[in-house]
Amino acid sequence: MNAAWEVVIGLEIHNQLATESKIFSGASTAYGAEPNTQACLVDLGYPGVLPVLNEEVVRRAVKFGLAVNANVSPRSIFARKNYFYPDLPKGYQISQFELPIVEGGELTIKDADGNDKRIGITRAHLEEDAGKSIHEGHDRSTRIDLNRAGTPLLEIVSEPDLRSAKEAVDYLRKIHTIVRYLEISDGNMQEGSFRCDANVSVRPRGQEELGTRTELKNLNSFRFIEKAINFEIERQIELIEDGGTVVQETRLYDSDKDETRAMRSKEEANDYRYFPDPDLLPVEISADYIEAVRATLPELPAAKQQRFVDDYKLKSDDANILTSSRAVADYFEAAMDASDASPQVVANWIIGELSGALNKDGLDIDASRVSAEDLARLVNRIADNTISGKIAKEVFEAMWAGEGSADDVIESRGLRQITDSSAIEAAVDKVIADNPDQVAEYKGGKDKLMGYFVGKVMQETQGKANPGQVNKMLKDKLGS
């Protein structure tokens, strides 16, 4: 990154709230139905129909507000944002403008130096989603699918506090984690449940005044967001350094070409003619209601991470990984309940073997083929010296393949560690007898050969000898 320039980024996240029904109608919000089968007369904007606010949507917005330490407005107003587009049935979108339901929140991310950095959340407001226009594959015509029309959205707007693409992604991941912790959204980026627009500008380092910003749209994965912002930063810097000026405009990110390109300039921007929607009453939220919602809040990611560090003495990074989703954290804690092993060992198994296996099979942890309790029992067998860590990996693979519990696999495959010293001694003696040259070298001072002998003994015992005992016995016999 260019040291002469400072990057300023603000993000607008459009987060679908995963309610059963739409924000202003009773139609289902389920994803993937046949086009236009989940749009009722209200969603279609038929003459005479009226919107009725889904209370669950309000509850979820309040939850979010409390989770980011924001003010929940005692009174917020729905307004109409007027513009014509075929996938906007009423010719206006019901949104919140002057009085949003949530204002003034914050969360903490790590900056480039690894220090805590506070990112302000300007506001979060409720609105309805539009339908989808499908331009591809239909000659000159456009097809409209209104299933999505009226799906509840929480638009979360950050302050321009972010200073790099990496910070932006860190912030996004944190918000993404929070909405899933709160169970207010499924956060599914492929299905468009969690979308993001980025306002990006650059200014000479030290300058107070903000540079002209562009708005990047169509950012639907963390990877693309980072790439798009970085592309845009470079583009703006190059443009200015070549004597040009940045034009305020909306730019679309093309992930195939890894570039952004102009979509529409500010001059072409709509005048949305916002005004309070006369069909809806102001949303009034009492202090009692807020407290009742607060009582339902789960432990939030930041608090959970800190607890994992404090109580389980986990490494901070590992605690961060384990708390990245509620399901993973719950898995860890369920495993700890059934485990005699050290928390860090359990954590290592989840972050290592288990995550690898889940990724390979494309499974969420909820669908893991090895339960938390079974994983705990496996780790217990290492702790009680029934098997070695190395054998444990084989056992895990067998468990993953459905061969039963750790104990079942250890028994059926005969993997129990040999702790009988006479059996180990026989193998040690055999290895010493079979390798006279190496023994001589060892005795001549080549200490590194100890590993060679241990390996040979393990080979003799099909890996089942207790490595500690083998080591000790070899040293005794070879007289070091």
Binding site: P47, G48, F84, D279
Partner: protein
């Protein structure tokens, strides 16, 4: 037996109850009358002959089975602004010339559930924007008292059909006077309830914060009967209010002794036709004779009502009418070249001049840079108007005055000058801005044309308004007068 068409809704209800005639006979008689007179008045956009006869049979069967609802077998007509399932619902516009609604408005549903038989859908100003019925795509309605004159608007078809005894009662809507002004000009009773008293669900929106459904009838008693069925909370309309619905019919009885009637001096100023003013003063004297006291009250912001209304109503309508874009329903231009062409021609062809005028006015007042000066300012004035009424109602129970400045004007007289047309609603608009219940009741004749007495009450004063009107009707017979050709 009196001719069926000449009876009021209340009389017909009694007759059906006694078994003097069946709903089928009654419905047939009225359908015959509509066939004979509907076209000359242009009062109907749709006559629902077959459905009405079928529903009348069902009503008779229900009564025979002991399941007669409050409105069992009683014929009514709906203003064509109310969505009626499987029936054309045009809102008086080319835009919806072929729109068959897939659902019933709440009030349509409630009246059907009470056993009412719907004869047809009445003509109206396009999207309820107009005070003369001349903006209807289907042509103006004629005033039964004089075919050269307007019946008023926007509920002109409803008013004319009741005045001409084609239907004993009609539903209607009132955004700035659209129930009361046509009622006054046709010698009928027009009742607009408190905002939120009656559900707006299924009523095609003009200006959502002002629109309210009501009725046009021959008597206050008939209005009370219908209002009892229409009123009440509807979970499908967030602006409908969960407030108990009293027995309006039972509330009609009682003396006017002690009733405090407020008179607004400005209502009798220059703009009022002399003869109309005289008729209204005589009506006030009748109320006084019945024990009411008259007090002068002040509404200092009265002059700002019309300009305020013509900012707020167009602003809301410009947004409400955006859904008519040719994409999903309604008029769609032939062979659109592109999206903009589809929008421009569908809307350009589908909407008439007055609707376009208001959409443009509304778009302008909501635009960036003008919003504060117009829309926001209008909302503040609206609050002041509302406050004026609240103060006035600390001292009086009802405010009385003329419904319109003049009796019915000639068709074509005001069409070139929208401002003169807008001023026809000068006395009625305040009640919409403040969300108050208001009604017009027949109170005199000027050169053979009817005059209406306008009554406005505080929020939820429906009972007191209906009682005042009903008691007035016990002492006068203006409301019983019918144009000779329609007796």
């Amino acid at each position: 037996m009196m001719d069926l068409h000449s009876q009021t809704l209340t009389q017909l209800k009694d007759g059906l109850g006694r078994g003097d005639f069946s709903s089928l006979e009654l419905t047939q008689a009225l359908l015959d009358r509509i066939a004979a007179h509907g076209e000359e008045l242009n009062a109907f956009i749709t006559v629902m002959r077959d459905a009405a006869l079928e529903n009348a049979k069902q009503a008779d069967a229900a009564r025979a089975g002991g399941n007669a609802g409050v409105l069992n077998g009683l014929p009514i007509v709906h203003k064509d602004i109310f969505c009626t399932r499987d029936v054309l619902t045009t809102c008086g516009s080319r835009m919806l010339e072929n729109f068959v609604s897939p659902y019933d408005a709440t009030i349509v549903e409630r009246m059907a559930a009470a056993g009412a038989v719907v004869l047809g859908k009445t003509n109206m100003d396009e999207f309820a924007m107009g005070s003369s019925n001349e903006t209807s795509y289907f042509g103006p309605v004629k005033n039964p008292w004089d075919h050269e004159r307007s019946p008023g608007g926007s509920s002109g078809g409803s008013a004319a059909s009741v005045a001409a005894r084609l239907s004993p009662a009609a539903t209607a809507t009132d955004t700035g006077g659209s129930i009361r002004q046509p009622a006054a000009l046709t010698n009928t009773v027009g009742f607009k309830p408190t905002y939120g008293r009656v559900s707006r669900y299924g009523m095609i929106a003009f200006a959502s914060s002002l629109d309210q459904a009501g009725v046009i009838t021959r008597s206050a008693a008939d209005a009370a009967l219908l209002l009892g069925v229409m009123a009440g909370f509807d979970e499908r309309d967030s602006t409908s209010i969960d407030h108990p619905v009293p027995d309006y019919v039972a509330g009609l009885d009682g003396s006017l002794k002690g009733l405090r009637v407020g008179i607004v001096r400005q209502h009798f100023d220059d703009g009022l036709d002399d003869a109309t003013g005289k008729a209204v003063r005589e009506a006030l004297a009748v109320l006084e004779a019945q024990g009411a006291s008259l007090t002068e009250v002040d509404l200092p912001n009265l002059d700002y009502c019309v300009p305020t209304y013509y900012v707020v109503a167009p602003a809301e309508c410009s947004s409400n009418l955006s859904r008519f874009d040719g994409v999903r329903f309604g008029h769609r231009a032939e062979d659109p070249q592109d999206l903009l062409d589809l929008y421009c021609r569908s809307r350009g062809e589908g909407f008439g001049a007055e609707v376009k005028r208001r959409i443009m006015t509304g778009t302008y007042v909501l635009s960036a840079g003008y919003y504060d000066a117009y829309y926001l300012k209008a909302q503040k004035v609206r609050q002041l108007v509302s406050d004026d009424f609240s103060r006035a109602f600390e001292n009086v129970d009802v405010i009385a005055g003329p419904t319109t400045p003049t009796p019915a004007f000639k068709l074509g007289d005001k069409t070139d000058d929208p401002i003169t047309m807008y001023l026809n609603d000068i006395y009625t608009i305040g009640a919409n801005l403040a969300g108050l219940p208001a009604m017009s009741t027949p109170c005199g004749m000027v050169d053979g044309l009817p005059v209406g007495l306008h009554l406005v009450g505080p929020h939820w004063a429906e009972e007191s308004l209906l009682r005042t009107s009903h008691q007035f009707q016990q002492q006068t017979d203006w409301h019983a007068q019918c144009p000779e050709a329609y007796q």
